[in-house]
Every structure is written in C-alpha cells, then in structure tokens.
Symmetry: C2
Amino acid sequence: MHILITGAAGMIGRKLAARLVGEGALSGRPIDRLTLLDISAPPAPEAAAFRVGAVAADIADAQAARAAVAGRPDVIFHLAAVVSGEAELDFDKGVRVNVDGSRALLEAVRAAGDYRPRFVFASSLAVFGAPFPEAIPDDFALTPLTSYGTQKAMVELLLADYSRRGFLDGVGIRLPSIVVRPGRPNQAASGFFSAIIREPLAGREAVLPVDDGVLHWHASPRAAVGFLLHAAGLTREQIGPRINLVMPGVCCTVAEQIAALRRIAGDKVAGRIRREPDPLTARIVAGWPSRFDPRRALALGFKAETSFDEIIRVHIEDELGGQIAS
Amino acid sequence: MHILITGAAGMIGRKLAARLVGEGALSGRPIDRLTLLDISAPPAPEAAAFRVGAVAADIADAQAARAAVAGRPDVIFHLAAVVSGEAELDFDKGVRVNVDGSRALLEAVRAAGDYRPRFVFASSLAVFGAPFPEAIPDDFALTPLTSYGTQKAMVELLLADYSRRGFLDGVGIRLPSIVVRPGRPNQAASGFFSAIIREPLAGREAVLPVDDGVLHWHASPRAAVGFLLHAAGLTREQIGPRINLVMPGVCCTVAEQIAALRRIAGDKVAGRIRREPDPLTARIVAGWPSRFDPRRALALGFKAETSFDEIIRVHIEDELGGQIAS
C-alpha cells in the first residue's frame, strides 16, 4: 500500500508519519511506500521498513499536484493548509493554499483517470460559527466566521461532490482543537488551551487570557492521528453520502482543565497559570463552537479521550517521556 | 443609482430588468443606469427612462469581470449560472461558470478598492440534500446532492466571507423551484412542475412523470423578482452575519397543484395531464427538499404566494394576458 501525506512537516503530519512507520500497516494492509509532501521537504522518520520519500512541492501548482499523485497512492491524507491566524491575516494566501491547493490536488486525482484513492481531508470545527444550540448536531449549518473556516467548508463541499461523482473516495474529518500541542507557544488564538497545560508541566509560567468558564471541545494529537487512520479504513458504505464528519472530543471548561492539571501534577504546577484577561482573545473564542453531539462519528467508531485528565496523561506519555517537572 | 444584472438574458434576469425599468427606482432611490450582462448580449427592455447598456461577457474571465464592475454599480444582481442539469452533465463547465465566474466577479469588486456594493446572489435550495427533517430549519446543514448545489453552496460561503471582511455587502437568496416557468418545456428534471400547469393552460398535453404525492416548494417568477428586489433593499444590520437566506414558498403536493388547476381552469384543462411515470425523474426528485421553515426570511419581510392557486393566477396574469385557452 502506498500512502501520501500532504502537510507532512506539520505537527499532526509528523505524528501520523511516525505512527505509520511504527505500525507498518494501515487498515490491516502492509505499507510498502510512504510519500511525505510539504512546501519544504519534511523530515523522513527513521527506521522505516519500507520506502519513504520526502517531497518539497506547492500543491497549488497544478503540475506539482499531478506529480504528487503520479505514483497513485492508495490513500491520501491531505493535511496541507495555511492555519487560521495566517488565513485571516493574508486572505489571498489562505484562498490560494487552502482552496486552490486542495482543488489542484482533487483535480490531479481526477485527471489521473481509472484511479479512485481514499482521500482523507483534515477539516476543522471552524466550519461552524456562533450562534449555536447548546449541543451542535451533525446536521448543523455551515456558517464559518473566519476565512480559514470558509476555505475548509468549501473544500468539504467539493470533496463530497468529487466523491459522489466517483472521481475519488473522500472523507472529511472536522478536527477539534488539538490539545496539548507540543512545542513553543504560537500566535493562534486557541494557543492558550495548550499553553496552560504544557508550560506549567515544563516548569514555566503560562498566561490565561480568558475566563475560567470558557467551554471548549478538545482532543489530543494522538487522538487526531487516530481519527485520520480510522477514516482511512472505513468503507464507502459505512460513510454514506454525508462524508464530512464532526470528530468526537472532550468538552470542558478552562476551570475543569486546570482542575485536571492540579489532580495530575499538583498545586505547584497548577499555580504557574497567571490570569491576564485579553478582550480580543475572549471575543474570538466566544465565536467558536464548544459542545457537539457527534453521533455519526461515534457510531462509526471514531474515538477521542473521555476526560481532560486523559488528554494531559497522553501529553505526559507522548511528549515528556512520562515525567513531570516538579 | 447604477444597477448591474449578470445572467440578464435568463428568464428571471429579463423579468427583473423589465420590473426595474417599469418602476424606475430601487428601494426608493431613482435608477439612472442599468447594465445587463450575459454571455450573449441580452435584449434591452424598451422605453427605459434611464441609460440601459447590454454587455456580452464571460465573467469567468478576470478581465471581463473587472470591466463589468468598472462602472461601480451600486447594486449587483448576480444571476449568471449554468443550470443544474448542465452542471451535472458538464462538471468542468459548471465549476468554471458557477464557481470561478462568481469568484472572478467577487474579486473584481474587491480589487476595485474603496467600493462596497450590495451584491445579491441568486442561490438555490439545491444547496440542501436529503435526508431531511419534516420541515427544514434555517440552520440546516449544507449537503448538496448535485454539482450545481455544491457550486452554489461554495459561492454562498465565499460571499459570506467577503461580506464579513468588508470587501462587499452580500446577501444570498436561496430560490425555490420557480413555477410556472414560461416558454417551452426544457430538460430540467423539475420542468414538469411548470409543464403540468403551463401546457394544459395553453391547450396542450403535459406529461407527469412522478407520483401525485410528491411534495415540493414553489414560488412564481414574479415572487422571485420580488425576493431579489427586497434583498437589495435590506440593511446590513437587518441581514446580520448569516447572509444566505432560504426564501419562502408554497409547499404542496402534485395532487394539490392539479386540484388548484382544476379549480381555476376546469376539468377539461386539468384533463390534459397524462401520467407517465419515469423512475429516473422520481429518484432525482426524491433527493430534493420539500418543506422549509424559513423564519428568518419571513421576519425580514420576504413574501411569496400563499397558495398554489395564487401561483397559477400570477402565471395567467403575467404570461397569458389574463386569458385561459378553454
């Protein structure tokens, strides 16, 4: 089986590649080739038992997109995207990469002819926008309030039409906020959800810019990789015509996040969170969805963590070698 | 006030132009210029009290799109589209005209700079797809089952983002099936909804390819023009952030359509409907939405007919000079 990952240099892309290399198989079929694509050549995981190629390419370029699928991968994980903050600041770049890049890749698959790979698209809960009902149903309207969410929703629609017409075999998974993100704090408005856990656990102070009562929908990086792998293995019949699925997650308040951190790592660690309200962040976060009722994904067997304690433990296991700085 | 209509040679476009010429004003402001654009130069209405220009242009061409808005129309009615049957048969043409054409027009407006026209987009209930709840709420998911519906939904999303960012002042109106369409029968799967009224009224036989129990959502051409005019006059505050609106209509079964025809025109006319079931048409129609609960549009003052009898009377007044062939 040949697998292509776009956006393979990103956080999720790297973890997905490492997991595929570790398992050596996808949906019970042995992997014999893995192609990692990003705008700069992504690092290849070590010790793969099969051929791993790293490609630097801009998929918004039609020729590059065609070259990317020339090897006819059986499964394409399309993760390449300009993230939400950047898509909001640079409208043209967001459209070019998130819409035109995705479209070029879809077209390249279609143009290949007699080729119908499973195409797993990493979408986002940003396709939804406030106001929301208390629990958002699977059939809620697409009313994004960011350019990023708009671009993801447009590609979801296109992916569904390409699948319906038989050009490929698509499934879109709407990822929750991924927490705890490893690495240094970034400029994303959602960054604090990760920072208030990651930084205290690493012995550093973190700033909390919003109220303790803010409710949000979380899943770990490990769960996100699990969603992608699970999506690759579903049959067309299981997925049905509504191919874009809200992923499960843990719904909890910031206060519950902090309480979980305190239970796991103690008062001293939890004491490293400094409250510094920021009205802009608070306003952005208020437009985000908080609680879903993702029945279809649960019925299809997608699994997230079941508590925020578990999300923290996953971070400690996967990123800190099981150790907490006291 | 300067008004631009794209798709001005189409049925709705011609009626809209005629109405604007007749009224001489839009939302209480006098019209001093009307530009009619289509892929072939549309016929200019007679006896206009202001300047009317006819332009043949393909808006999917970026330069043509820029030229179309160079006169900085205050209101743009964007009706140009490849219809559903053709978009299904010719995927590339549908995407090129319906998505890329709309996008080129949106970009041309944005590129003009310091220019924020009211942009009224003729969308369609085809943005929805079965299965449906009994009455479809305003916040129902976008799950089109045709390429046409997909393309309309993509433009709705883009229009909302352009409006949110202040590039223009958009509103999308999702038109019901327009009944009774004048002219000869066409190949659209929905054509029979009009044909079973229009043809018998004109003394000709019509074929009914589906079951009498089929439920559908209708509005007259006159109501559709009314929706467009009303959308042009709403304030940004009235519309709010969810700019794409389901239009009101008359929900009735084919049996109720026929009963209305019998009440208005008698048994002899209603007897010109011949039942000839067509499984393909029946299957297509089964995927279409039938009943909406368009609360937002009603609250904003959009008005459709209130009975199918009224829809038939509008046809007799507007197309048959008030006369029925016996």
